[in-house]
Chain length 147, copies 2
DNA sequence: GTATCTGCAAATCCTTTGCAAGTCA
DNA sequence: TGACTTGCAAAGGATTTGCAGATAC
């Protein structure tokens, strides 16, 4: 449950300072099972430490991204979401009608990854992918009544 | 080559007016083989018709989107790109190292579409998808020297 | 002690909106 | 004519940046 230690270790190993802000941002990311936005991280941290500034959140996220410790995902909301490495990779089916997000597991895309590598020499990063479309419920609704 | 006629027909059929701005925006989109951003459309139109405003471009794109005449694609640049329906669907391999964009054809993702429908009841819209990763050249470079 | 970090405020970028004037049908 | 469109200017939200003061090590 407490992997913060390992993660912060990686920070200091690379010569970066361990500040309370960075620790709290990391902890906020880990406590979130979903992907989390900069604003949400900020709100969570600010609840305990009102002094933080959102620009620190952005700067920290950029650092963690550079170090490969967080990943970005764009679910088409006009804002980026972040996800801590080590919390497991998965993909998201985003329903364009009701907004529902379904997680699917990594294996679903593995054959695609293989064929892209084989046919195009392209090494796809499919760790966090959003796929847009219609979920089962909305699909049935829209085929029942044409509105 | 000149499918503007058909497209504009669809506009007036639906009760929308054919204004010079809309015509020029449509023509700019068709002349672009790649996906094009709002800013780029604006620049192209403004070259011939300096009076246009970028908000008209956005409003027109939203209309065309609603009518299913253009699609959006997000290549992770912090801005949306647009693509005219009828210019063919395809997908993009975006190299995160050199920025190179390789088009691949629609069929590559068709088995994925099938399995999402079968396993999750999810009807995926895979008409314009960006896949991130490393292209062949950058992959070789990064495995040759660890920088 | 000092280079790294942070908070603050302002700037930037992309996109949207209100409104009065213009224009297609 | 009259509803639909536009230009303009200003607002909006997300993210970035410059800088001086604060702090981890």
């Amino acid at each position: 449950m407490h992997e913060t230690a390992g993660i912060t270790g990686r920070l200091s190993e690379q010569g970066y300072r361990l500040t309370p802000q960075r620790l709290m941002i990391l902890s906020a990311m880990e406590s979130s099972h979903d992907h989390i936005s900069a604003e949400e991280i900020y709100a969570q941290v600010a609840a305990k430490y009102p002094h933080v500034n959102i620009s620190t959140v952005y700067r920290t996220l950029e650092l963690l991204k550079k170090l490969g410790m967080v990943y970005e995902i764009d679910l088409g909301e006009g804002r980026i979401r972040y996800h801590a490495e080590g919390s497991g990779h998965h993909h998201h089916l985003v329903c364009q009608s009701c907004g529902k997000i379904t997680d699917i597991d990594e294996a679903t895309l593995s054959s695609l990854k293989d064929s892209l590598l084989r046919d195009y020499g392209f090494s796809a990063d499919l760790r966090h992918v959003g796929i847009f479309g219609l979920c089962e419920g909305c699909r049935k609704k829209s085929s029942a009544k044409k509105s």
